[in-house]
């Protein structure tokens, strides 16, 4: 076996079951650490017209222009002014890079697979992008399905924005 494969395996290993936890309001959410590229503070955001309001615009990440999504708005919670605790989590799935604006980043936690359960069948907006509920001691962490977070069509049709 070559070194590269070993390293890859090792990385795979160290990232296993790890989730980056962030908070919105009182809820803690988890993102699979493998999709996270980096965490940065809030940046000047360039607004882009013709987009749904949860896409706040684009930022310049060292020359790469990436869109940023306000997760609060995506979850249909009310808008809150950004402050120095506000973070942007840059994630990449399926070659798409997006920044997620969250209230604050908490920690990296290990949640073993057996501690993650199927989400309850609730149609509430907050659960549309949840793929599992992880138990972490006494509290729960909502595991985010990044693919759905990025790609799920909104309930409102996009044409509404083009009026």
């Amino acid at each position: 076996m070559t070194n590269i494969e070993e390293i890859e395996e090792l990385e795979e290993d160290t990232q296993k079951d790890k989730f980056l936890l962030f908070s919105i309001d009182t809820n803690y959410y988890g993102i699979d650490i493998k999709t996270v590229i980096e965490i940065i503070g809030i940046q000047p955001i360039t607004e882009v017209p013709e987009l749904p309001d949860y896409i706040r615009g684009v930022i310049n990440l060292r020359g790469t222009i990436i869109p940023v999504m306000d997760v609060r708005l995506r979850f249909e919670k009310e808008y809150r002014e950004y402050c120095d605790r506000t973070c942007i989590i840059v994630i990449e799935t399926n070659n798409v890079m997006v920044g997620l604006i969250v209230d604050s980043v908490a920690e990296v936690a290990v949640i073993p697979n057996e501690n993650i359960m199927e989400p309850p069948c609730i149609t509430s907006e907050g659960y549309r992008y949840i793929k599992g509920i992880g138990k972490c001691g006494d509290s729960v962490r909502l595991i985010i399905d990044c693919d759905r977070l990025l790609n799920e069509e909104e309930s409102r049709s996009i044409s509404d924005f083009n009026v």
Binding site: T2, I4, P44, T46, E47, V48, P49, E50, L51, P52, I55, V58, I59, N60, R62, G63, T64, I65, I66, P67, N95, V96, M97, V98, L150, I158, F161, N162
Partner: protein, 675 residues
């Protein structure tokens, strides 16, 4: 050595060999135009084959090495023995065959297949060629002792009838040489020739076995020669027909060329020294020597780093710690730093831009190959090859252009016989040109062939149910452009070249995929022209930045006619929801950007903001924004794919990074106006 470790070397081998072969073809085809091959080119081809031989055997591709070796041998003979009779056309064919052979093998290697072609046949052919050259030139032994001279002569203007003087001189020289060319070569009834002789002198190039001093004497003694000099230039290959009295007869049939290096100096040692340094010079001049290949990923990283530097610099300059401090030295240095980083940024941006020349040059080969096979005589004319386009775009337009050229060769240009019959020049012409038009790059492929058949297209369009409006309302251009519809090929029989199941619709799709557009125009019997309009995406444009609310937008400066602040006495009109303004007696519609883009701004009174008059597609319109921020060169980046996928960006053509790292959105005004 495991395979994995070997990979970078293999990549390098594949890459380098391919590059070398491309270089080779280019050299060769340019040479074929002048129907000769000069020493520099022979050396170049020899060098390329030598390199390929070396690296192929390193990689244990012995059959590639052996083929390269055979060709190297052939060129060794050309270089060392300097043969006078070479069937040039055959030689070119052979070199191209070798190039193709190796290319095919490389392709197999690239795809992980076993490179298994049999090199024997092609090696045999080269051997035969080598033997033939050697044989042909044995009889020419005495010629070998001949030396070549080029002389420029100025006749005494008082001697009158300079053309006759030249003619007499030529007659005189015929005593000492059989091989001679001279310019101007039309000496009689040619007022122009006289002018040329007076201005540039009368040039004679000839081959002779009498010594330099005797030759010099001939010119020195001629009473009508005011001045003469021996010219030495190795770059100019000398094409002289020996054994043929008629110099012009040296054409298709004989296909003879003479490959001669110029020897003027008598001193042998001196001579070889001069040759050597001349060859060195040639190498230095060859464009390929100035190029290095860089992994594109590295360029991307470089670009990002520079972006970051620029941003950080901005932060340092505007650091709150500096506020209120008087720092003359700091400011001075800072300004210099700013200037340098600005330049750095520009250079890095321009690195990704490549001229179209390489893509264009490739067409020579296609035209050449097809001309031979289709029995058509076609010349390809290239224009604007130096136009620079982003590397990504070049990669994507190469195939469409190739396809269109093939199509023109195959279906456009008539056979020689046909052309003769209908009174067209026997040689057809395909013109490939590129230019910057505003913020686009426009590439046109034009041929003087038979053009499109409107009736046939119309019928087919009807059959395919493409016609949605009354036939009478269709313009010619609309009809012609049906050929870009899927499954549209009026030619039933598919040929080796442009058949292959790829139609014009694929060309159109490929171009549209990178945000470009295709259109065609034609005149039956006279030819057709295809326009490829490539988008601004990734191209560098001169942009004008404007502000609306908190946002910055960029529009291509090329479309801006003027900008002005509307005065209170300017005639403004409002009709329903359409605002208009009268400028110098003309009425133009007003487009409020804040309105259309739904941006909050305090400046909504037309007298407080700025009007920018833009022109696109022959339409003028006044755009209203808060303020103008200035002008700069910007690299157009595509919007993130996530956004493009999410919504059709109607107003945005892309985005760009401004000098301070902020993002500006590039407006697509063609679409803004449609709304």
């Amino acid at each position: 050595m495991s395979d994995k470790q070997n990979e970078p070397m293999l990549d390098m081998f594949l890459f380098e060999t391919q590059e070398l072969l491309n270089e080779l073809e280019q050299d060769l085809l340019l040479g074929e135009k002048s129907d000769s091959l000069d020493l520099a080119k022979i050396n170049e081809i020899f060098r390329i084959m030598h390199t390929i031989k070396g690296s192929a055997s390193m990689m244990f591709y012995t059959h590639i090495a052996s083929v390269a070796h055979s060709l190297e041998d052939l060129f060794y003979c050309l270089r060392e023995e300097n043969p006078k009779i070479v069937d040039y056309s055959r030689l070119t064919d052979l070199v191209l065959e070798v190039s193709d052979f190796i290319k095919l093998e490389l392709e197999k290697i690239e795809q992980g297949l076993e490179p298994d072609a049999d090199p024997e046949q092609i090696k045999n052919e080269m051997n035969q060629m080598l033997q033939k050259i050697k044989q042909d030139n044995m009889e020419m032994e005495e010629v070998n002792s001949m030396e070549q001279y080029k002389v420029v002569i100025f006749f005494d203007e008082a001697c009158q009838m300079e053309n006759m003087r030249a003619f007499t001189l030529i007659r005189e020289l015929e005593d000492i040489t059989n091989d001679m060319v001279y310019t101007p070569n039309e000496l009689f009834d040619n007022e122009e020739a006289l002018q040329i002789m007076r201005k540039e002198g009368f040039q004679i190039t000839f081959l002779t076995n009498i010594g330099y001093s005797s030759i010099q004497q001939i010119f020195a003694e001629n009473p009508f020669i005011r001045n003469f000099e021996f010219v030495e230039d190795l770059c100019e290959e000398l094409v002289i027909s020996s054994n043929h009295d008629d110099i012009t007869s040296c054409s298709d049939e004989s296909n003879c060329i003479k490959i001669e290096e110029l020897k003027v100096e008598e001193n042998k040692a001196d001579k070889s020294k001069i040759e050597e340094c001349n060859i060195e010079e040639h190498k230095a001049q060859a464009p390929n020597q100035k190029m290095i290949s860089v992994n594109v990923n590295k360029l991307d990283v470089l670009m990002d780093l520079v972006g970051e530097i620029v941003m950080l610099e901005e932060m340092v300059m505007k650091s709150p710690d500096l506020e209120g401090l008087k720092l003359p030295n700091f400011n001075k240095t800072a300004t210099q730093l700013q200037k340098l980083t600005g330049e750095l940024r520009e250079i890095v941006m321009s690195i990704r831009m490549l001229p179209l020349s390489f893509t264009f040059q490739k067409m020579h080969r296609i035209v050449r190959d097809m001309s031979k096979k289709l029995d058509k005589n076609v010349e390809i004319v290239l224009e604007g090859e130096e136009t620079e386009v982003d590397k990504n775009i070049i990669e994507k337009i190469s195939d469409p252009i190739m396809h269109l050229v093939r199509n023109a060769m195959d279906h456009g240009i008539e056979t020689m016989e046909m052309r003769q019959r209908i009174g067209k020049p026997i040689t057809g012409t395909i013109k490939l040109s590129a230019q910057n038009v505003g913020s686009d790059v426009l590439i046109t492929i034009q041929d003087d062939g038979k053009g499109l058949n409107k009736e046939k297209i119309l019928q087919k369009a009807k059959k395919n149910g493409l016609i949605v409006k009354p036939e009478g309302e269709l313009t010619d251009k609309e009809i012609y452009n049906f050929i870009f519809q899927p499954g549209f090929s009026t030619k039933e029989n598919i040929s080796e070249f442009s058949g292959r199941g790829v139609g014009m619709d694929v060309v159109a799709k490929n171009i549209e995929n990178i945000g470009g557009s295709v259109s065609v125009d034609s005149e039956e019997g006279k030819g057709m022209i295809v326009y490829l309009k490539l988008p601004l995406t990734l191209a560098i444009i001169e942009g004008m930045n404007l502000k609306v609310g908190a946002s910055v937008f960029t529009i291509p400066t090329s479309i801006v006619k003027e900008s002005f602040r509307p005065k209170s006495n300017d005639a403004l009109m409002k009709e329903e929801n359409h605002e208009m303004i009268m400028v110098r007696g003309e009425v133009y519609p007003i487009l409020r950007l804040h309105h259309i883009l739904n941006i909050k701004t305090e400046i909504t009174d037309l007298h407080e903001g700025i009007m920018i008059m833009v022109e696109q597609n022959d339409q003028k319109i006044c755009i209203f924004c808060d303020a103008l921020l200035g002008q700069q060169q910007v690299v157009v980046k595509a919007l993130p794919s996530y956004l493009r996928r999410m919504n059709q960006m109607k107003y945005l053509a892309g985005c760009t990074l401004l000098g301070d790292g902020t993002i500006s959105l590039i407006l697509d005004l063609a679409n803004v106006k449609k709304k």
